[in-house]
C-alpha cells in the first residue's frame, strides 16, 4: 500500500535535514505503529506524505499503490485515498464543520469521477458516524474545530476519516490529550474501519492506544530514520524502558 524508500527531507527555509533516509513499507490490511522520541521526525514524515509546503525532498521516494505521492498535489493524494489525522487539528473560523466535510467528500468523489452525494444521504452518513464517536449534533454545526476541546478535535479527525473512508490512514498522535473513554471511542472508530483493503500508520507515544488498536508491526524512529522494527512487543519494551536501550544498541 505505502512504500517509502530512503526518504530524505530538509526544511525549505532552514538548512536542517530532518528525515535522513526513512525506509518503511505498510501492506494493505495491516496496522503499523511508529514510536520515537520527540523531534525525531514522525510528524514531518506524515506532513511530507500528505504534501504540506515548507519541506524539500532531497532524496528517496514515497508511493501509494505504486503512484508517486511526492508528485501529487495534496488534494490529489487525498482523493487517491491518503488521510492524515493531524497531531494538531486546525481551527477554521467561519467554515462550518458540515460544509467542510461535505465539500471534502464531494471534492474527492468528483476527483475520482464519482457522483456527488445527496444532501440527505450525506446528513444520514455523518449523523450515523458521529453517533458512534459520541460527537453531538451541536458540535457538527460549529465552525471546524473552533472552540473544540483537545479531545473533541481528535474525535473530529476520526469522524472525518470515517466519512471519507480513505485507504491509507496516518494517525499522528491521535491519542494524545484523550481521556480513557475517548481513547476507547477513537480506537473503536479505527477498528471499525480495519479492512483488508485499508492500512493504518499509527504514530503514538503510548502503549495504551496499542492495547486497543493491535498493531501488526511496530517501528521506532529516531533522528530521522527508522532504527528498529518489530512486533507489538517492541511497544511494550519502549513503555517499560524508554528509548535509551534501543538508541544505545544502534549507536
Amino acid at each position: 500500500m505505502l512504500e517509502i524508500k530512503n526518504l530524505q527531507v530538509r526544511l525549505e527555509d532552514e538548512d536542517k535535514q530532518i528525515l535522513k533516509g526513512v525506509d518503511l513499507t505498510v501492506e494493505a490490511g495491516k496496522v503499523h505503529a511508529i514510536m520515537g522520541p520527540n523531534g525525531s521526525g514522525k510528524s514531518t514524515m506524515s506532513y511530507v506524505l500528505s504534501g504540506r509546503d515548507g519541506y524539500q525532498v532531497t532524496g528517496g521516494s514515497a508511493t501509494m499503490d505504486g503512484e508517486d505521492l511526492l508528485e501529487m498535489e495534496p488534494e490529489a493524494r487525498a482523493a487517491a485515498g491518503l488521510f492524515l489525522a493531524f497531531q494538531y487539528p486546525v481551527e477554521i473560523p467561519g467554515v462550518g464543520n458540515m460544509t467542510f466535510l461535505r465539500t471534502a467528500l464531494n471534492a474527492q468523489r468528483k476527483a475520482r469521477g464519482e457522483e456527488e452525494i445527496s444532501a440527505g444521504d450525506f446528513l444520514k452518513l455523518v449523523r450515523e458516524k458521529a453517533k458512534t464517536l459520541k460527537i453531538d449534533a451541536e458540535m457538527l454545526k460549529r465552525p471546524v474545530n473552533v472552540g473544540f476541546s483537545g479531545g473533541e478535535k481528535k474525535r473530529n479527525e476520526i469522524l472525518q476519516m470515517a466519512v471519507l473512508e480513505p485507504k491509507m490512514c496516518i494517525l499522528d498522535e491521535t491519542d494524545s490529550g484523550l481521556d480513557v473513554d475517548a481513547m476507547k471511542l477513537v480506537a473503536d472508530g479505527v477498528n471499525a474501519l480495519r479492512d483488508k483493503g485499508r492500512a493504518f500508520l499509527v504514530i503514538t507515544h503510548y502503549q495504551r492506544l496499542l492495547d486497543h488498536i493491535k498493531p501488526d508491526v511496530v517501528h521506532i524512529m529516531a533522528d530521522g530514520r527508522i532504527i528498529k522494527t518489530g512486533g507489538p512487543e517492541l511497544a511494550l519494551e519502549v513503555e517499560e524502558n524508554g528509548y535509551a536501550d534501543i538508541l544505545r544498541e544502534k549507536a
Partner: protein, 433 residues
Amino acid sequence: MAAPKRNDAARLEATEARIAALDLPKGGFTAPARAAALARFREMGLPGRRDEYWRWTDPALFAGVEPQLGDAFRVDKPIFEGRDKVRLVFVDGVYDAAASDDPAIAGVEIARLAEADRADIHWAKALYGALEADGQVPVERPFAALNTATATEGLLIRVTGKAARPLHISYRQSATNSDVVLHHVVRLEKGAELTLLETGTPGARSNVVMEVEVGEAARFHHLRPQGRALDRAMITHLFARVAEGALFKSFTLTANGRMTRNEAVIRIAGDGAVAHIAGAALGDGVDGPYHHDDTIFIDHGAEDCESRQVFKKVLKNGAHGIFQGKILVRPGAQRTDGYQISQSLLLDEDSQFLAKPELEIYADDVKCSHGSTTGAIDETALFYLRSRGVPRADAEALLVLSFVADAIAEIENAEFAADIEARIEDWLARRKH
C-alpha cells in the same frame, strides 16, 4: 461649516466650471433645499487630495464635468431573483414603469421625485436635503450637496406600518456615458418596518444619496449589492437618523468597480436605538482597476444605544481598499456600546488596504472598541482543507467566504443572506482557472 476654508484658486475654478455645466432643476417643494444645497456646494468646493478624507481616494472621477465612459455589466442572473418583493427599476437613472412592478403592492407610500416635485407641498419636504445638510458636519461631503441640488429622480418612500413585502430598487445601466444622480428619501413612521433592497450600478458614473428617517421603534433593513460593473465610478451617501428604540441595519456588497466610495452618516438620536452597518468588498485587479472606499460616521447622541460596523475587503492583484470609520459619543450618551472592525484579506502582495479608525468619546460610561487587521490566507487552514481533498481554488474560496462571514452575519433575512453569499461564491468561482 466646521472645517476651515481653504479654497484656493484651482478649487474655485473647478467648482465654478462644474456648476456652470450643471442643468439645475428649479424644483417644486424641493426648491429651497436645492438652492441651499447649491450654496453649500459652492462654499465647500470640490474636494481635492489634500482634504483629510480624500487623501486615499482620488475624487477626480466624481468631480469632472463629464463622466468617464463605462460599460455595463452583463448580468447573467439578477440577484434576489425569485424572492417575494416589489421591484422598481431605474434605467440609466430614469424610472422605468414598464419594467417595474406595481408599487402599490408594497403596502407603502411611494412617489417618484420627478413627479412629486411638481408640487410645492409634500411630506418629504421636511427631509429632502435636510439629513444631507445635517451630515455636512463635522466632515464636508460636497458630492452629497451637489446631489441634493441637481437630482431629478429618486423615490420618496413613506412607511406607516409593516411593509407587505421588501421593496427592491433595481438599477440598470444601458448607456456607456450615463451620468446618474439619484436622491431617495425614506421615512419610517413610529413602529414601521421596511426591508429595502438596492441592487446594481445606476450608470457609468453614479451619485446616489439616500436619506432615511427611522422613527420611534421602527425597523429598517437595507441590503445593497452594488452590481459588478468594472468601469463604474460610483459615490453613495447614506444619511440616517435613528429615533428611540429604532433599528437601522445596512449591508453593502461591492464586487468589482474602478472607483466606489460609500459614505454613511448615522445619527443615533433616540435612547435605546441600534444601528449596524456592514460591508463586503471584493476586488481583483486582473479584471481592471479596483478602488473601494467606505467612509463611515456614527454619531451617538442618546443613551443605551448600540452601533456596530463590520467591514471586510478581499483584495487581489493591485486592488485598493480604504476604510475610514469614526464613532463619536456625545456628552451624555451614556452606556453607549460602539463596535467597529475593518479587515482586509490580501490575496497577494500587490494589493493595499488603508484604514483610519477613529473614536471620539465625551461620555464616561461607555463601551467602545475598534480594530483593524490586514492578513493573508491562512496557509495552515489551506493545507488542512487540501489534505481532505478540497482543491486549492475551492479551499481558497471557502476561506474567503469564512473571512467575510461576520459581515454577512449582519444580514438578518436568511434568504437574502444566502443570495449574497451565492453572489460572492459566484465571484470567487470566476477567478478559478
